[in-house]
Amino acid sequence: MKDNRKSYARLRLTVGILLGVAGVCALVIGLLGFGLFALGTWLSASLVCIGFLTLALAVWSLLLLAKIEDEVFTTGATDEISRRERAQKALVKAVMYLFLSVLALAMIFPFYWMLISSVKTVEEYNLPTPTLWPHELRWETYLTAFTGGLNLGRLFLNTVIVGVVSTILSLIVTVLSAYAFARMEFKGKNILFALMLATMMIPGELFTITNYITVSAFNWLHTFTVLIVPFLVSVFYIYLLRQNFMQIPNELYLAAKIDGASDLKYLWKVMIPLASPTIISITILKMMGSWNSYMWPQLVAYDSAHMLVTVGLRGADFTDQLSKLFDYPAQMAAVVLVTVPLLIVFIIFRKYIMRGVSRSGIKG
């Protein structure tokens, strides 16, 4: 009986929230529809009405839910909780969902706008009132993104080369130093570790100036080296991995020693597999860092052979040769091609990314 009521309550909640979201969508589209080319006045007006009705239904559904919930989850004290309080509780919940839905829409809208703009024709994009859904889909924009304006294929290749090489090298450096700090005993270990952490407090801009002089002196300007080497050491990643290594019990190390395993073998066979979640986090954040890096590449490697994707994207000119109109849809298609890989990586590795980020607050 109680379970029945519970599943009924869950159903109510689902229906209520779906209605709420649908209502907000209908309302927003309807309201915007008045000024938009794609929707007529009548359609917009009816959408607004439907939106209001759906929202009312959602609130009603959630209000009822609170009553059921109280019946199910409170034992005997139901009568003491006043009706008014219950209604208030449900109202608060409805407001929460409404608030979250509206903000979530604002969060998603730029992505939506980027996607639909990327498949519009230039004529449609330039219409006096923008359309919320393209009249005709033009997939050729994605071809234009590769051929006209910027050499996107080359940019992707450069970025992947820099990303992969710098991630692998950086992992080697990070794992070796984290292992030394976590497992080995040597003089000055604590001082060295403290000094290393202290460098984290100084803003990166301070390093950039001298690093520019250094890489010029090494004749590294406009090479892949200049994009990879200066950022191989990340003190934060060493710190993160060391903490993880420290959690692995020492008994394993002693057992491996008795079996005659060398340090490197132990590191490779035991430590790295056990610390793999942290290593995956570091790998993803480092890759994303190369994909998004802009300031340093813009300063030291802006020739076409070594240009990274973000630098190329901002500088690209999509003006059509014939009509002299700027091909915004093609530009948006290029933006989609840069953004979508990141989103895919995020969807697959969500857990690792959020873990890494919540501990650091650094972006790649």
Binding site: R10, I17, L31, L32, F34, G35, L36, V92, K93, M96, Y97, L100, A106, M107, P110, F111, M114, Y125, N126, V173, L176, S177, A180, E185, F186, T199, P203, E205, L206, F207, T208, I209, T210, N211, Y212, I213, L232, V233, I238, M288, W291, N292, Y294, M295, L299, L313, Q331, M332, V335, V338, T339, L342, L343, V345, F346, I353, V357, S358, G361, K363
Partner: protein, 325 residues
């Protein structure tokens, strides 16, 4: 025997650390020393007729001697007042975006914490802006706020999606970022974009903090019959204060280093068409100076560092007084 193996281990440990130490010495430790050094190096250039800061290229070619002095710092403030513009823009953006994004993030985190259904979905949606490319999405914001305006003599042919929404609500369109746009319209767009971009991290941290709050406090407050508003201000905010302090401090540090979001929306010119440099920031000023005058860039970087240091100290001091625990 034991001592011998220990010694061998020492040697080995340094070998493991060697790559890290070399890289850190060259690209982190030396820059700290050298940047302070060249910030105080300058010389009188008879060709230019002015005091110029350290420049690697000319110092290589002409083998010139530099003298110690504070002229780089004077130069920074004198240089056509563009540093003061950058300083003002940076301060304004920081002061506007940090409180707005912190408050919004707090509200969203509290709302997210109070729901169960669709929580994961909303969490994912609110995290999306974090995993995007600041330049790429800045370009999307530019197309949302920008107008299609082929000839300056005539009115724009299309006012863009945001203006269309405004007009749908009965308002008049605004020239947000195009040629001749006003300073405050530019700032409004930048604040919107920076807040949009800064929310995910703040929500993540605050929600993490909320989930660790002991439920007992809320139960006790409910027994006492406290209102929701009162619970929010008297229990949630004080218990979250360490997290709030953390996002405010990192927000200020990030705000003073603002640069890529402006490039994303306005491009390398750092301003609307016809007004380059109007929205330049301190980091932008430093990067502009790096290729031809590293002395000036170093002086500006030290000023930036000093500002960040002082603001962080003030933040720490205030939060020590206000943060409970």
């Amino acid at each position: 025997m034991k001592a011998k193996s220990k010694k061998r281990n020492q040697w080995k440990a340094w070998l493991y650390l060697l790559p890290m130490i070399i890289l850190l010495l060259v690209f982190t430790v030396w820059p700290i020393i050298n940047t302070v050094r060249i910030a105080f190096l300058c010389r009188w250039d008879p060709d230019v007729g002015a005091i110029v800061g350290y420049d690697y290229q000319t110092s290589m070619l002409e083998n010139v001697h530099y003298q110690f002095g504070i002229n780089n710092f004077i130069n920074v403030f004198a240089a056509g007042n563009s540093f003061l513009t950058a300083l003002g823009n940076t301060m304004l953006l920081t002061v506007l975006t940090v409180p707005i994004s912190t408050m919004l993030a707090l509200l969203i985190a509290v709302a997210l914490n109070s729901i169960k259904f669709l929580k994961k979905f909303f969490q994912t949606v609110f995290f999306l802006p974090y995993v995007t490319n600041a330049i790429a999405i800045g370009m999307v914001f530019a197309t949302m706020f920008g107008m299609i305006w082929p000839s300056p003599a005539k009115p724009p042919t299309s006012v863009g999606i945001i203006n269309t929404i405004i007009e749908a609500f009965g308002g008049h369109y605004v020239n947000w970022i195009d040629r001749g746009s006003s300073y405050w319209a530019n700032i409004a767009v930048l604040v919107t974009y920076i807040v949009w971009n800064a929310l995910p991290f703040k929500i993540l941290v605050l929600l993490g903090g909320l989930q660790n709050v002991d439920k007992q406090y809320y139960d006790a407050a409910k027994v006492d019959g406290a209102s929701r508003w009162r619970i929010f201000w008297r229990i949630t905010v004080p218990l979250l204060s360490p997290m709030i302090a953390y996002v405010v401090i990192t927000g200020f540090i990030g705000g003073f280093k603002e640069y890529t979001s402006i490039v994303g929306i306005f491009g390398e010119d750092m301003g609307p068409y016809g007004a380059p440099g109007k929205l330049n920031t301190m980091v932008g000023f430093i990067y502009d100076s790096i290729p031809h005058n590293q002395g000036k860039a170093s002086a500006a970087a030290l000023i930036l560092f000093a500002i960040i240091f002082i603001v962080t100290m003030i933040n720490m001091y205030v939060s020590k007084k206000k943060v409970h625990y």
